[in-house]
Symmetry: C2
C-alpha cells in the first residue's frame, strides 16, 4: 500500500502554529477531524467541524487533563493492521484513524523558564507520545505529524496525490517521531538526573554533511550538528571556495578559539590547531602583517581567523592579484564575523580559498567533551586566564596586564608543552615565537626562542655587527609565557642565552626554588600566575 | 507522602528474569497482581494468583497482542493524583495501581540478530513505554520498575519498611524509566534513520566518576561511560595508586592505541598523548629498555603501556627500590593486559604509581568522534597503514615490511606534522627519534634527527674520534618515516646532514619530483606508501 487516503485525522497539539489552516485543508477534502481540549476549541473558533474525542473513546476528559486521549479505542484505531486485523477491528467497532497530528507539552520551554520540579513533572506528556509512537509504529497505514514545519510538505502532497500520502513520506515522518520522542525523554531524563545531582549527558546529532574524507583520504567522515543546540559551528556561512575538509574544520575551531578573547583587531594564523601567528591592535591590516610575521613560512596553507569585520586593505596583504604567482600568499580558509563587499570580491579572485562568515564571539561553549572508546571526558572549559601576576624573583619586571592577557590567550591555545614569547610593538601585541606539542618543556622553550631569532632576523635590516644588539634589545622587552611550571632550571639558561628578561609561568613545581634562584643569578624577572593551561 | 504501601501491582515483562520470585514476595504481603499475556502464564505456572488485565480494562487482548494494556482504566489508575483526584477516581471506578513492573520488547536484541525492517517494527513496544512513563510521571505515588536488577533493592526496602517504598526510591526509579525510554527510542530512531541512509548518531553517558579536576585545576571534570557500549575504557581495572587524573586518562588512551597494533612485546612511553618511546621485540625487559631510551628525559613522569602480561624482570628496570631516590624511575601510570603477582608487588612499592589492568587488544573503536561547539566531526578510524612500499628514487633501499609497519604505527600516533626515525636492533624494532606537533615539517624533521643524535650519543661508549663513524653507521640503517608528504626538498637536506639513507613517506605533493630529485642527488632511497596519517 503505497498511497493512503486521509479520511480521518486526530489532532491534539500543544504548539498551535498553523493548525487552523492545516485542519481547514483536511476538512475541505472531506476528512473527519477528532480533537480534544484546547485544540478542539481553537479549531472550532476557526470554523472547523470537530468530533469530540470522548465520542470516540466513550471516556470523559479526566483528572485535570491528565487523561483525555489514552484509550483502547484511539490506540487500537492507530495500531491495528489494516489487512490482517480488519475483521477484528470491525467486530470491536474500531474505525481507522489515518493521520495523527500531535506535538508534546513544552517540557523544554518550561525548563528554560526555570520551572520547579512539580511544574516540570506536570509538563511530561504521556498521552502525546503514546499516540505518536502508536501511529508511527503503524506507518504502513498511518501518517504522523509532530513538527508544524511538515504541514506544508503534507499539504502539497495531498494536493498532488488525490488526498493521499505516500509510504516514503509516512516513513520519513515515522523517523521524525521516534527522533522526537527520544529527544523528549532524553531531556526529561537528564533534567531529572540533574535534580538528583547526577551527570548523565546525552548528545544527538543530525543535519549530516558528508565530507570528502576524514583526517586522511582512507577515512570516511561526516560533519554533524547537535540537534537542539541554539548555536553551533555548523551554522557558519561558507561564502566561497572549495568544499571544507575535515582538517579545515578542526583548524577553524582552533582559529576561532584563538581570536575570540582577543581585543579588536585580533588575528590568528593556525596550523594543525596551533596558532603560529597571533596579533591584536588598532589597525587590522597591520595586525594581520604582524600575525603573519610570527611564522611567515608556516603561514602558507594556514587557516586564518579575524574577530572584526574584514576590510579590503587587510586582505590585499595576501597579494592574490600578484602577477608572479610566487608572491601570492596561499591560505586554506579565512574566517571573519563579516566582510566588506570589496574584501569579498578581492578574496573571490582565488577560486579555492574558503571564505567563511562566523563571529568568533558566538563560540561560547560551557563544557568540553572528549569521546575516547565508549567513554567521555567531560570538563568545564578553560576560561580563567590568571589569578594574579606576582613576581617571585629579586628583580621584579614590568608586565602590562594587557600583554600578560595576550600571552596567556596564546599559550592556552597551544598543545602542551607550550611556550610563547610575546611583545608589544607600539599599540600592538604580537606573538613573536612559539614552541608546542613537545614531550618536554626544554624542547618547546628552544623552539620558541629560535623562532624569535628567525623573526627578528627577518625584520632587521641593519648591518651585521648591529644585529645582536638589535636582538638583545627586542628580546629584552618581550615576555616569555609558559603554560605550566618549569620542572628544571635548564629552561632558564636557554631563556638567558636568548636575552629573555621577563618570564610568566603558573609556578607549582617542587623545584620552584631552584628555578627562581637561577633567575636571580641571571637577573631575570619571573612572575607566577598560579593558573596552568595544559591542553592535550 | 514519603512511604507508599504497595497494595496493587501491574506486571508485564518481556525479560522474565526473576519475576516469579518477585511476584511471590508481593503476593505474600497481600498485594494484588494484575497481569497480561505471557507474563500472566509464567506467574500462574509459578502458583501466583493473578487478575487478568481484561478484568480491569473491560477490553479484550486484541490485534495479535498489539493492544492489551493501553486503556483509560489502566493509565488512569497510574496517573491520577491520589489527593486532588481521589473523588473523581472513585466516581469513575478507578482503583489505584501502586507499582508497575514492566520491561520492553527487545528491539535492541532483534536488531543485533540482524532482523529485517518488519521484524524491527513489530518489536517497537507501545503499551510498555506508556505504562512506564505514566507511572513514572506519578512517582509521588507510584513505584515503577523496569530493570530486573532493581527487584532486590525493592524487595529489601519492602521488608524493612512495612511493605512500603520511599519517595527517594520512587524518584530514583522514575529517573531510570525516562533514561530507559530515551535510550529505547534513541535506538529505534537511529536504526530507522540508518535504514533510510541517514547518519544521526546519539551518545549517552552515565556511571559518572567525578575527577579531581579537568586538564587544569580550575576546570571541573567527570569521567563517564557510554551507556550501552559492550566494552569501554571505563571498564579498566585500577589496581593501585593515586586517583587517575583527566590528563592521565587522555594519555592512557594514546598509550593503549600506540601498543595495540604492535607485535609482542610492545611498549609505549607517552607524554601528552605522543609516544616519545616505542619498541617491540622478543624480550619484554629489553623492549622496555629500548623504548625508554627513545627519550630518557621525557620518559620521567610518562604514561607507559604494554601489550603483554607484565613480569617482574621488566618492572625492575624502574629501580623503584633503589636507595638513592634519584635512581628510581618515576612514571605516572603503567598499563598492561595482565601482571604477574611479583610484578604487582614490586610496583606497589611506589605509593602513587597508578597500575592499570586493561588489554590494549580490547580497544577496537570503529569511529572517532570529535565534539566541537555543538557539532560533531565523525570519522572512521585510521586503520590502514600503507598501500605498498614503492621506491621512487634511483637508489632503492631495503625496508623490511616489519620495520615499515612499526614506523607507520609510531608516526600515525603522533600529532602532525610528525616524523619518526626507526631502526632494527637485532630482533627489536625501536623508535630512535621523533618530532611532532609542529606547524611545519622541517621543524619536526629537525627535532627527530637531533633526538636520534642525542640517543646515539648516550648509547655510544667509544672514543670521541670514533663517534661520528658510529653515528653514520647507525643512522645509515634507520628508516625515517613521515606522516605526510614533504612539501619542499629542504627536509631532505637535513636528513642527509644526519646520515639518513632511507625515507618512507606517502607522497602526493605537487613538488614530489623536486624532492625525489634531491634524494637522487644525495644518494638517498625514498619510497612512497600513498597512505597519509594526519592526526590533529
Amino acid at each position: 500500500m503505497d498511497k493512503i487516503k486521509i479520511k480521518r485525522a486526530l489532532i491534539s497539539v500543544s504548539d498551535k502554529t498553523g493548525i487552523e489552516e492545516f485542519a481547514q485543508i483536511l476538512t475541505s477534502m472531506g476528512c473527519e477531524i477528532i480533537s480534544t481540549g484546547g485544540t478542539k476549541k481553537v479549531l472550532e473558533e476557526a470554523g472547523v467541524e470537530v468530533i469530540d474525542i470522548s465520542k470516540v473513546t466513550g471516556n470523559p476528559e479526566a483528572f485535570g487533563g491528565r487523561m483525555n486521549t489514552i484509550s483502547f479505542q484511539i490506540e487500537s484505531a492507530l495500531l491495528y493492521d489494516r489487512e490482517k486485523d480488519a475483521d477484528e477491528a470491525e467486530k470491536l467497532n474500531i474505525k481507522p484513524i489515518d493521520m495523527v497530528i500531535c506535538n508534546l507539552y513544552p517540557f523544554g520551554r518550561v525548563k528554560e523558564d526555570g520551572a520547579d520540579l512539580d511544574t516540570l513533572v506536570e509538563n511530561i506528556d504521556i498521552g502525546g507520545p503514546t499516540m505518536l509512537r502508536a501511529g508511527a509504529k503503524n506507518y504502513k497505514y498511518v501518517t504522523v505529524i509532530t513538527d508544524p514545519y511538515d504541514y506544508q510538505k503534507v499539504e502539497d502532497e495531498l494536493a498532488e496525490n488525490d488526498d493521499s500520502i505516500s509510504l516514503d513520506t509516512r516513513f520519513y515522518l515515522m523517523r521524525k517521531v521516534y527522533n522526537h520522542t527520544a529527544d523528549y525523554d532524553a531531556l526529561i531524563a537528564s533534567t531529572m538526573d540533574e535534580t538528583a545531582g547526577e551527570l548523565t549527558p546525552r548528545f544527538s546529532f543530525n543535519q549530516a554533511q558528508e565530507l570528502r574524507y576524514g583526517e586522511n583520504s582512507h577515512q570516511s567522515a561526516f560533519f554533524l550538528r547537535e540537534k537542539n543546540a541554539k548555536d553551533s559551528l555548523y551554522d557558519m556561512e561558507v561564502l566561497h571556495g572549495k568544499e571544507l575538509s575535515f582538517n579545515n574544520i578542526v583548524d577553524m575551531y582552533g582559529a576561532i578559539e584563538s581570536v575570540r578573547d582577543l581585543n579588536k583587531n585580533g588575528v590568528a594564523v593556525i596550523k594543525h590547531t596551533n596558532p603560529c601567528g597571533l596579533c591584536e591592535g588598532p589597525d587590522q591590516r597591520k595586525a594581520f602583517e604582524l600575525a603573519w610575521a610570527g611564522d611567515n613560512v608556516s603561514a602558507f596553507g594556514s587557516v586564518i581567523a579575524f574577530n572584526s569585520a574584514l576590510g579590503l586593505e587587510t586582505v590585499k596583504f595576501l597579494n592574490l592579484d600578484a602577477e608572479n604567482k610566487m608572491e601570492r600568499k596561499f591560505v586554506e580558509v579565512i574566517i571573519a564575523p563579516d566582510f566588506s563587499e570589496e574584501a569579498l570580491q578581492y578574496l573571490y579572485q582565488h577560486k579555492n580559498l574558503r571564505v567563511v562568515k562566523f563571529d568568533p564571539a558566538r563560540l561560547q561553549p560551557a563544557v568540553d567533551v572528549k569521546i575516547l572508546f565508549n567513554t567521555a571526558l567531560w570538563q568545564t572549559v578553560d576560561n580563567k586566564l590568571l589569578d594574579k601576576v606576582e613576581f617571585v624573583t629579586e628583580k621584579s619586571g614590568e608586565v602590562s596586564e594587557d600583554l600578560a592577557r595576550f600571552g596567556l590567550i596564546a599559550v592556552r591555545q597551544l598543545k602542551s608543552n607550550a611556550i610563547v614569547v610575546v611583545r608589544k610593538i607600539g599599540d600592538y601585541n604580537q606573538l613573536l615565537g612559539m614552541g608546542c606539542g613537545q614531550p618536554n618543556r626544554v624542547n618547546s622553550t628552544q623552539l620558541a626562542l629560535k623562532k624569535c631569532y628567525d623573526n627578528l632576523g627577518a625584520e632587521f635590516n641593519g648591518s651585521d655587527d648591529e644585529k645582536q644588539k638589535y636582538f638583545d634589545k627586542e628580546m629584552g622587552i618581550t615576555v616569555l609565557v609558559s603554560d605550566a611550571f618549569f620542572p628544571f632550571a635548564d629552561n632558564i639558561d636557554f631563556c638567558n642565552e636568548y636575552g629573555i628578561k621577563t618570564i610568566l609561568q603558573p609556578g607549582g613545581s617542587m623545584r620552584d626554588k631552584s628555578v627562581t634562584k637561577r633567575c636571580d643569578e641571571l637577573g631575570i624577572a619571573m612572575a607566577f600566575t598560579t593558573v596552568r593551561h595544559f591542553k592535550h
